[in-house]
């Protein structure tokens, strides 16, 4: 049998052992690619400026501890925020236009729970100790955040808390079924383990504050808004109208106030919904009366939906007019409202619908229309002379130049947990800059730490971490090469059944598995961040992409890169920038 190689005629064909490396195709180039990590829209929307694209990248690879530490660099309370933050990050997720946004808060909670379950200790960068000591009034999210970041920057912190346990609104204002006490205690425990001292049951009066200012280099005022604002209607007494926040606080202190019969809850925010749902859990009936419409309510839509599933009634376009006592009950006279035109914020403008009224007889009335400080002197002084007003806090200097910082609800336009955290962070950065470089440096130093030129600030950038190398360009949906992504459904949050919910204060949202968390995190586009997918390496027709052991080693061999731009076009996540040569 012949073999195919027998009796073969030689081939006359061209072949050269000369290398083609002499042909420097790089000389043809008029466009130049550059590896440049950019800013994801979620991270700018996050008031705490969390590095979400990186958190998801690490989570998708199963590096839960590293992902958790990445959160902690910007936010000391992932267990809290994974549960109660309104996650504006998800609203701007580039994946939304593709299938649906990433469940960022669900992964955040998973990371926090995993860390708590395994009692993980974060390994975080901390600057050398500074001589200055910081006093913090109030242990709510603003105060906790301030203490965390001051400590990171090398300052010793003492927190003074009026109540018996730390946490502020997190401990006393948000119901257990949304934020269980053990979760908060774990977070606070971790903050304390950084060396922060928390003095509970230590109410600070105005005169004591002045004493503190002698013992500390800075005082941070994070006393929060702990009192509901009165309705301002006739017949309103401390007997007839109960403070919604006070009610929530009493329940979290272990009391079980009687809630028999129908309770009216006036307001449309999360406190109103929390009060109504707490009433349901205490065996009562609850009706939320709101002067606008459901779609105008500042409360989270999902919370409203769950409240209604649990039997809370919602009556729209009703404003409280007057209250009349009727034996043990109260007659609530309500003015009917209607929509006419639009407010500045785009919501429908409400006006009284003629003289129309309606009445409802209830056992008790809760007010949850807004909140205010418990003591008037908590507010920053109206005299702003010599003060520095920042986006999330205000700094006032006394005669000796000792700064007093007002933060959290006291200064935030939007009053919520993550804005309070942002405020604490901003305070730490501003005061550190003041100590190190002087007052005039504050504005520019803070500006250099902005995430994508937005209001959020990054402590990692402030501390000269790798994140400072990111471009501030915010990756737009059209800059994502969606050819490299497949449609995949967003993880569904597992929850207690309605029947399980209404009978107890057990946490409603259940844990998701590590598998589900990895799958969800894998949905992330990682907007603007190189995850070493190697598309550029595979597509480069000139073999000019040089990979290395790590991300920093990846580079382009400009001897041969002819600037075709394939690497930039095939990058799924806009981590390659193409620029005109010579610019």
């Amino acid at each position: 049998m012949n073999t195919p190689t027998m009796n073969l005629k030689p081939l006359f064909m061209p072949r050269t052992h000369e290398t083609t490396e002499g042909n420097k195709t790089g000389s043809w180039r008029y466009l130049r690619p550059r590896y440049e990590d950019k800013t994801s829209p979620c991270s700018t929307a996050c008031p705490a400026g969390e590095d979400i694209a990186r958190i998801e990248m690490l989570s998708a690879q199963g590096f839960f501890k590293e992902a958790w530490e990445t959160i902690l660099r910007e936010n000391p309370l992932p267990g809290v925020c994974g549960r109660v933050c309104f996650h504006p990050c998800e609203g701007v997720c580039n994946r939304e236009g593709f299938d649906s946004s990433l469940a960022i808060h669900t992964i955040e909670r998973h990371l926090a729970d995993t860390a708590a379950r395994n009692d993980l200790k974060p390994a975080l960068e901390k600057l050398a100790s500074q001589p200055q000591k910081i006093a913090i009034i109030g242990s709510g999210p603003a105060g906790l955040s301030a203490s965390w970041f001051f400590t990171m920057l090398g300052y010793a912190c003492d927190i003074y808390e009026a109540l018996s346990e730390a946490g502020g609104i997190l401990r006393w204002g948000i119901p257990e079924y949304r934020l269980p006490a053990p979760v908060l205690r774990t977070e606070i425990g971790r903050i304390e383990s950084q060396g922060i001292r928390i003095f509970t049951g230590k109410h600070i009066s105005e005169s004591e504050l002045n004493k503190l200012r002698g013992n500390y280099s800075t005082v941070f005022m994070g006393c929060g808004y702990s009192r509901s604002t009165p309705l301002g209607v006739s017949g309103e007494t401390s007997e007839s109208v109960k403070d919604g926040l006070e009610f929530l606080r009493s329940v979290r202190q272990g009391e079980k106030p009687s809630c028999q019969g129908l309770s009216a809850v006036i307001g449309g925010g999360n406190t109103a919904v929390d009060v109504a749902r707490t009433v349901i859990r205490l065996g009562g009936k609850a009706a939320i009366l709101y002067r606008r419409r459901r779609q105008d309510m500042p409360a989270f839509a999902e919370e409203i939906a769950m409240a209604m599933e649990e039997g809370v009634a919602l009556h729209e376009l009703l404003a409280p007019g007057a209250i009349e006592a009727q034996g043990d009950q109260y007659k609530l006279i309500l003015r009917k409202m209607k929509i006419e035109g639009q407010d500045k914020d785009g919501r429908g403008r409400i006006v009284p619908d003629g003289d129309k009224t309606s009445e409802v007889t209830v056992e008790r009335i809760f007010t949850a229309t807004g909140a205010d400080v418990a003591e008037p002197w908590y507010n920053p002084p109206s005299d702003k002379s010599g003060a520095i007003t920042l986006s999330h806090c205000q700094i006032k200097f006394d005669k000796e130049g000792i700064p007093l910082v007002y933060g959290g609800d006291l200064t935030n336009v939007t009053k919520n947990v993550t804005q309070a955290i942002a405020s604490g962070k901003q305070a730490a950065m501003a005061i550190d800059t003041y100590f190190q470089q002087g007052r005039d440096a504050i504005e520019s130093r803070l500006a250099s730490c902005r995430v994508g030129d937005g209001l959020s600030l990054s402590m990692e950038v402030y501390m000269q971490g790798a994140r400072r190398l990111r471009s501030s360009h915010i990756v737009q949906p059209e800059e994502i090469n969606t050819d490299y992504f497949q449609f995949e459904a967003r993880v569904v949050q597992p929850r207690l059944l309605v029947e399980e919910r209404t009978g107890s204060f057990n946490e409603i949202d259940m844990r998701i598995s590590a598998n589900l968390a990895i799958r969800e995190a894998s949905r992330c586009f990682n907007c603007g961040l190189c995850n070493q997918c190697d598309n550029c390496y595979i597509f480069c027709p000139d073999v000019a992409v040089i990979r290395g052991r790590n991300m920093e080693d990846r580079h382009i061999n400009f001897d041969y890169c002819k600037g075709c731009g394939l690497c930039a076009a095939e990058c799924p996540r806009n981590a390659v920038t193409l620029e005109r040569e010579g610019l």
Binding site: T3, P14, H17
Partner: protein, 389 residues
């Protein structure tokens, strides 16, 4: 083992048996069934091959250029527009002396958009340096595909195995599928004459100056000539193992024939039927089946047709401004004979129109009744058309 297979599946079985290592393909009707089966075999491990799905036929063949240069046996299949899109790389493959085997399922080119059989796609690639072998039935498809690898690797030229859309690609027939170990005796695993090697780096197909380009092309021409003789040897080896041979051409009752019909593809089978009928009536008619088109078997054609008075070439293809492609080639081949039969060129069955025994008989009678062809190409079975205003 005899199995009832589609023509497409006969190709797939041959590719499986041929120990192909890399397959790349882009689907196109009527080729799709071939690569469906092959990709399934690759996925299930019935073939130890890498299947590379691509975004176009151009990329498909380019991918095989890379793979074959790296020293592995490769295969692809395409049709019509897909083959046309490969055109640039077809030239590259042959000049790079890469023994790639491809199946082309003959399909008409659009417009008018048409998925049915027509040989214009493959015949318009006649100058690309590929060997072309046309098949008549499922068994021949399987046998020819196996032989194609031997032939390609022997002369270092690519081979295109060609079959009719639907009439062959989608028709089930009994096909004898040989055992792997028998095929292995005929077609051992691939040992490349050259291949890229990172331990001894070199560049294939670099710049060639006028000083050498002609010699390079001449070497290809010699290889193409060699393919003609090699094909016969390879067929003999194949016949020794499997007892089947086809020849570069097949002459049926040509020795005493006055008129010989020249066919290719599945029209040949239909013509065989007519031939029996006509012979039974005492007509002196013969049939020449063209299997090999490149290299063109000039000697065999002259031998078969030299004694006839008239030759009727049936072309399921057309070269505008020139005529049927087989007719042109036959005429050119016969030119060397001192006394030549008159060649009638017939155009039939374009775009998948059926070529029945009635049509073939009409062609035969037209040829018999006319001394000289009325036209260069006689279009058979044309309907009257109504033109839009």
């Amino acid at each position: 083992m005899k199995r009832v297979l589609e023509g497409s599946h006969a190709v797939a079985e041959a590719v499986r048996l041929a120990n192909v290592q890399v397959v790349s393909a882009y689907p196109i009707t009527p080729q799709t069934h071939i690569v469906e089966i092959i990709s399934d075999y690759c996925a299930k491990g019935k073939m130890n091959a890498k299947f590379i799905p691509v975004e176009s036929e151009h990329s498909c063949l380019a991918a095989l250029v890379g793979a074959q240069s790296a020293g592995v046996r490769t295969f692809t299949a395409t049709s019509s527009q897909g083959l046309a899109l490969m055109h640039e790389i077809l030239h590259w493959v042959s000049a790079a002396r890469l023994p790639i085997v491809m199946v082309d399922v003959n399909r008409a080119l659009g417009p008018g958009w048409n998925i049915w059989t027509d040989q214009t796609d493959s015949l318009s690639q006649r100058d690309t340096g590929w060997i072309q072998l046309y098949c008549e039935d499922g068994q021949e498809v399987l046998d020819t595909t196996l032989q194609a690898f031997r032939l390609a690797e022997r002369v270092n030229l690519p081979v295109m195995v060609v079959l009719d859309a639907f009439f062959l690609s989608h028709t089930y027939e009994p096909v004898d599928v040989p055992e792997q170990k028998e095929v292995d005796r005929f077609l051992p695993s691939y040992s490349p004459r050259f291949n890229l090697d990172t331990r001894n780096p070199y560049t294939l197909s670099p710049l060639v100056t006028p000083a050498f380009y002609m010699e390079m092309r001449h070497d290809m021409a010699l290889a193409m000539d060699e393919a003609m003789t090699c094909f016969a040897e390879i067929e003999e080896e194949y016949a020794a193992l499997f007892n089947r041979r086809y020849g570069s051409v097949e002459a049926v009752t040509c020795d005493d024939a006055e008129i010989i019909l020249v066919t290719s593809g599945t029209i040949t089978s239909t013509t065989r039927l007519l031939l029996e009928e006509l012979r039974a009536k005492g007509e002196k008619v013969g049939l020449l089946k063209m299997k090999m088109f490149r290299p063109f078997p000039v000697e065999a054609v002259c031998r078969a047709l030299g004694r006839a008075k008239k030759v009727a070439v049936i072309d399921r293809n057309f070269s505008f401004g020139a005529g049927g492609v087989f007719a042109q080639e036959i005429k050119a081949a016969l030119y060397k004979l001192p006394v030549r039969p008159t060649v009638f060129g017939y155009i039939a069955g374009l775009g998948g129109r059926d070529v029945t025994t009635d049509i073939l008989e009409e062609i035969y009678i037209k040829t018999r009744e006319t001394d000289l062809p009325s036209q260069e190409s006689i279009w058979i079975g044309l309907q009257e058309v109504k033109y839009a205003n």
